[in-house]
Every structure is written in C-alpha cells, then in structure tokens.
C-alpha cells in the first residue's frame, strides 16, 4: 500500500516535471506570435484546471454543491491587482477617481527588479487566496448549514452580491468602480527580455503547485474525512467527524485556491474587472468538473485543457462563415461554436454521466490496467 503510493507520487512528479519542460521548450522553439491560440489555450487551460480542481474539492470530494466559485475568483483577482499595480501607474488606472487609495505595490515594496517581481506576485496571489478564504469563512458560518440545492442557490447569490459590491462607486478609490484594473504584472512579465520566454511555464508552475497541494490534501486524513462526509453525512458524524468544522475547512480551502486561480486569471487576461466574474463563469467551471468526472482531479485537469482548447481554438472555425468553392457552408456563423459546445455538454451530462474519468485518477487507470491482469491470474487459480 505504502509502496504503491510512493510510486504513484514519483510518477506524478515526473510527469509534471516533464510537462513543465515540454511547455517551456514549446514556447521557446515555436514563435508565440504565430501560435497565439496554442499558448492562450495552454495558459488559460492551466488557470481553469486549478479553478476546476478547487471546485471539485468542494463539489466532488466533500459533496457540497456550491456555485460561488466566480465570486471567490473575483476576490482573488482584485486583491492581486490592487496589490501589484505599480505606484506610478496608479493615477492612470484610477483616473476616474483621481488616483488610488492604496499607493504601494508589493513587487516594488519587495525591492523591485526580478526578485521583487517574483516575491511580490507570489505574495499577492497568496494574499488573494487568503482574502477569498476569509470571506468564505464568514459566509460559510450561515450558509454551510444549508442542504444541497439551497446551498447552491445561496452561494450563487453570494457571487452576485460580491460582484455588485465591487462595482460600487463609493469603493472606487480601491476597486476602480465598474472599470477594469490593469497595468499590473502578468504572465508575460516573466519573459526575460531577449532570453527565455517563461510566461506559459510560470502559469503551469503556479497552477501545478496549487493542484499538487490540493492533491496532497485529498490524500491526507482530512481528505478521507471529506469523502466520508460526501458518502454519508450521518455515518461520518457518528464516527467522530465534526461536520461543521470539516465542511468549513473544505469550503475555505476551496475558496483559497479559487482566489489564487482568480489572481492567475487576472494575470492571464491582463485585467481585473468585476463584470467578467459572472454566474456564467461558475457554470463554465462546473461543466469542466462534470466533463472531467466529479471526484477526479486528473479528470478536471484534462477537461479544463480540452474545454479551453475546444472553445478558444479548435472550434473557432464554427464561428466564421466559410465558403467551399461557391458553396456557403450552412449554419456557420457567429455564436454557432457555443451552440455546438452546449450540445456536447448536454450529451456528456445525459449519456456519459461519469465524465472522462469518473472518480478515478490517471495513475489508478494505469495501475488498473496491470491490476486487471493480476486479478485475472488470481481468478485463474
């Protein structure tokens, strides 16, 4: 048991390392300006993978159906943006409110230069996660007592409330009202001038570390307790698991990583604006989780990349009117991509309810192949 676990750990680490090197190589060998879609899909896929895994921790592993993910991402994105906009850019960004109420920037505070950038960005991301987790703790106090669908609708409502609060005029000097926050460090800031391009690598590294931590949590004694709550709440409580405490823990941790994911999302799109973090975004992430398999981390990751690549890149052609010779291909026109997309999703939901991975993980699948042969041998005896 212990041994296979260790083996799995090594395989996972090795795969992750190989992926990171591959991505870095790709970005430096291929010309990013000619493969825009590829690199956007990769980066967005990494960010969405993290957010989807964080949602899966809550919905798939703890059995709490929450729809507040976009709200927590918003908190993370704003915290990150507010803390990292360079001081001399603040007047330009907050021009409507005659400058910002906060006049420092973490990367500069930490010495500026590459070191300051790395430390400042990391610290801002972590703080973004902490803000999201703190808010989650607060709203979790009343909301987590609710049962399945009531919890869903209450967290959905929370997302709407957060969005309204951040667009409020009176908070303008901090949040820039309904306008976007921009000019803060993004993934591209990590490209070394005239040297290595690291933007995609950084996105993968940051998302990867977070996902790894979630994986460690899921496989720890707390992760097992979460699964027990998901499977049977009454039995879990009878076996000494404090429901309120563990649900709150899962909710806060999930929100923490959603917050970090929100910060990464801001880095990805070069801006933070409240109106992007809508319920539709939560639904998008939920659908990734469902497609990947509720209760499978690797499923969420695979589904995130597939979903993003399909919607941003592979299915783009569906949105442009195409002529083959003199013949106009029917149906193709703006918006068709999303229709095809939602039909695919409905098919998955209705006919492949377990998603790509069910509740298994990639290593399980590999081990399962060898396990099957072993069981066959045993049966043969």
């Amino acid at each position: 048991m212990e041994k296979t676990n260790k083996k799995r750990l090594w395989i996972t680490l090795l795969c992750a390392g190989a992926l990171l090197i591959l991505v870095t190589l790709l970005e430096n060998v291929l010309d990013p300006s000619k493969n825009v879609m590829l690199f956007i899909s990769l980066k967005k896929g990494a960010v969405y993978a993290l957010v989807a895994v964080s949602m899966n921790l809550l919905n798939g592993f703890t059995g709490l159906f929450s729809l507040g993910q976009a709200g927590f991402m918003l908190l993370g994105a704003y915290t990150y943006a507010i803390l990292t906009i360079p001081a001399d850019q603040r007047d330009a960004v907050y021009y409507i409110y005659n400058g910002s109420a906060i006049n420092f920037s973490l990367p500069e505070l930490l010495g500026g230069g590459p070191v300051g950038l790395v430390l400042g960005v990391l610290l801002a991301l972590v703080l973004g996660g902490c803000v999201a987790a703190a808010v989650a703790w607060l709203i979790g106090l009343p909301v987590l007592r609710l049962k399945s669908d009531y919890l869903a609708i209450a967290t959905l409502g929370f997302g709407e409330i957060i969005r309204a609060v951040f667009q409020w005029d009176k908070l303008g000097p901090v949040t820039n009202g309904a306008n976007a926050l921009k000019n803060f460090p993004t993934f591209s800031s990590f490209n070394i001038q005239g040297g290595l391009r690291l933007s995609t690598c950084v996105a993968f590294l940051l998302a990867g570390i977070c996902i790894a931590v979630i994986l460690l949590l899921i496989n720890s004694t707390y992760g097992r307790a979460f699964k027990a709550i998901r499977d049977d709440e009454v039995a879990a409580e009878a076996m000494g698991i404090n429901l309120a405490r563990h649900k709150r823990l899962s909710f806060c941790i999930s929100s923490f990583f959603a917050g970090v994911g929100g910060g990464l999302f801001a880095m990805l799109v070069n801006q933070a604006q409240a109106k992007t973090f809508t319920t539709a975004m939560t639904y998008e992430i939920l659908l990734i989780v469902v497609i990947g398999g509720i209760g499978s981390v690797s499923g969420s990751c695979i589904a995130a990349f597939l979903y993003v690549a399909a919607s941003e890149w592979w299915l783009r052609f569906l949105d442009t009117e195409t002529y083959i010779g003199g013949f106009k291909v029917p149906l193709l026109r703006n918006g068709f991509r999303m229709v095809v997309f939602s039909v695919i999703i409905m098919i998955v939901v209705l006919f492949f309810r377990r998603g790509i991975m069910g509740d298994r993980e990639l290593p399980d699948l590999l081990a399962g192949l060898s396990g099957k042969t072993r069981r066959k041998e045993a049966a043969g005896k």
């Binding site: 212990e2 004694t221 097992r224 027990a228 009878a238 076996m239 000494g240």
Partner: protein
C-alpha cells in the same frame, strides 16, 4: 467492576404530541453486555439516538463515565405540549453533536448499514481513526504527521486481522456480503477507540449461523478491547446468550429489567411480545 459507564436519567423524547421514549432510566456498568429489547416501534432506536447526540431529548439527562453529557428540559412550544414526568428537575441545556459524543468514547453502528460506499474496506476503518488523529489540516497535507499516519494504518491492519476482514481490505465496502458488512461496521466503530460500543440491531437480516458467529464475535471483541457493550436486538437467541442484563421497552416505557432468565419468565414482557387483549 461495577462502575457505571452509561447512565440514562429520566429521558423523555417527544416529537410534537407523540411520546417516543417516556421517562427512560437505565444504567450500563463497565465490562457488561446489556441489551435493550422491545417490539417494533417501542422507541429503542430513538433512545439510541438520544444517547449518541443525534436527537436532543425533550427532558432528562445522560451521563457517560461519570460526566453529564446530555441534558435538556421542555422549552418554547414544548413547555405546553410536554406530557412526561420530571419536568422541573432539569434546567441546563447540554446538546453535544454526535461527533463529540463519539470522541468522548462512545461509538455506534446503524440498523440499516451505513458504510461509506465509495471507499474500500480498509479506508472505511481508517477514516474512523480520523477523530483520533492529532494533526491539523496543514501538517496532514504536507505529511508532517507521517508517524501517526503509519501507526494508524498499522492499527487498522491489526484490527482488520482481528475481525477477519484482512483478506478483503482492498475491496469496496459495498461489494462485501451482508454479514461481512455488519462486521465491517463494527470494526469501523472499534477504530474510533470507544469505551462503550452501541450496536443497533447487529443481527438484523442474518441467518442463524451468521447470528451465532456474531454472538461469539461480540463476546470476543468485548474481552479483547475491554469494552462495554449496549445493544438493541430482535433475535432473542442472541440477546439471551450474550447479555448479562436486559431492559425491555414497550410503547416508549420501560416495562421490565433483569437477567435473561428473569426476563424470559416476566409476564409483562411476554404480554408485550405476544400481545394481550385490552380487557385481559
């Protein structure tokens, strides 16, 4: 030897106007196996739920190892509705959640088996150890509790060996035959390291041979883990063979109490079980 482990004191449980348990008093001493029997709907499981913190009683108190763990008195709407006795005697409100009761040293099984369906036999037992682990979420995630984790895993292996489930430890809990699922539920309760084990109809749905095995098994684990056992049961064979003392509940009220031999000859018990016409 006669130290009281569990003491149920004047417990009344009333749902709206319906009195499910009426002024129940009982005691279980250390090392004993005590049974609570009674016809269907007599209020046995309700009594269990009150003791384990699932329900808050309407009135009365529960003591565990000399400490008062549950107490309540009729409040609010119940004040007017209350039909039981000893209404004025209790003033405090003590309502621990079931997990707290379990951590105090009382673990239970369920009448309709409630295993964690997607987990293996091994994990089902290991999860029950969670309430005894001292690590916080941080140290557990980053494996700073490796020693404890290893020790717990060893304990679980041992426990599975003891209850005879070691050979199926990697199977899904729900793939086990019924009798083994019962056994697994008991093993899971044992993993929580209880002083008092509460079994809710452990032999329900078992054939005579399985029941016999179970009878022996309960005695075995009592000695091995120095437990006190309090059980609800329908199978008279099991109850009569195994228990030192028996409490009989009918329509929520205690109607008899004594050794198996005394209970077997008690007229009220026989009436309750066989039924008696009102004017007899």
């Amino acid at each position: 030897m006669s130290e009281t482990v569990l003491k149920v004191e004047n417990i009344t449980m009333q749902f709206g106007g319906v009195v499910a348990v009426d002024n129940l008093n009982l005691e279980v001493n250390r090392g004993e196996i005590v049974a609570l029997i009674g016809p269907n709907g007599a209020g046995k499981t309700t009594a269990f739920n009150v003791i384990t913190g699932v329900y808050q009683p309407t009135n009365g108190a529960v003591w565990f190892q000399g400490e008062k763990i549950v107490e309540n008195h009729p409040q609010g709407k119940m004040k007017a509705l209350y039909k039981g006795e000893h209404a004025g005697e209790y003033t405090a409100v003590l309502a621990p959640t079931p997990d707290r009761v379990t951590r105090l040293g009382m673990a239970r099984t369920f009448q309709n088996i409630r295993l964690w369906k997607s987990q293996t036999v091994f994990d089902n037992v290991l999860i029950a150890k969670h309430c005894r682990s001292t690590s916080n979420v941080f140290s557990a995630s980053f494996r700073l509790n490796r020693k404890e984790e290893t020790r717990q895993r060893e304990n679980v292996e041992e426990l599975l060996e003891t209850v005879g489930l070691a050979d199926v430890k990697n199977e899904l809990a729900t793939s086990l035959p019924y009798g083994k699922q019962r056994r697994l539920e008991i093993a899971r309760a044992l993993a929580a390291e209880p002083k008092l084990l509460l079994l809710d109809e452990p032999a329900a749905g078992m054939n005579p041979q399985e029941t016999e095995e179970l009878t022996a098994f309960i005695g075995e684990i009592r000695d091995r883990f120095q437990l006190t056992v309090f059980l609800i049961e329908h199978h008279m064979n099991l109850v009569m063979n195994i228990s030192q003392r028996i409490y009989v509940l009918d329509f929520g009220r205690l109607i008899a109490h004594g050794t198996p031999a005394e209970i077997q000859n008690n007229k009220r018990v026989i009436d309750a079980y066989l039924g008696v016409s009102e004017d007899a």
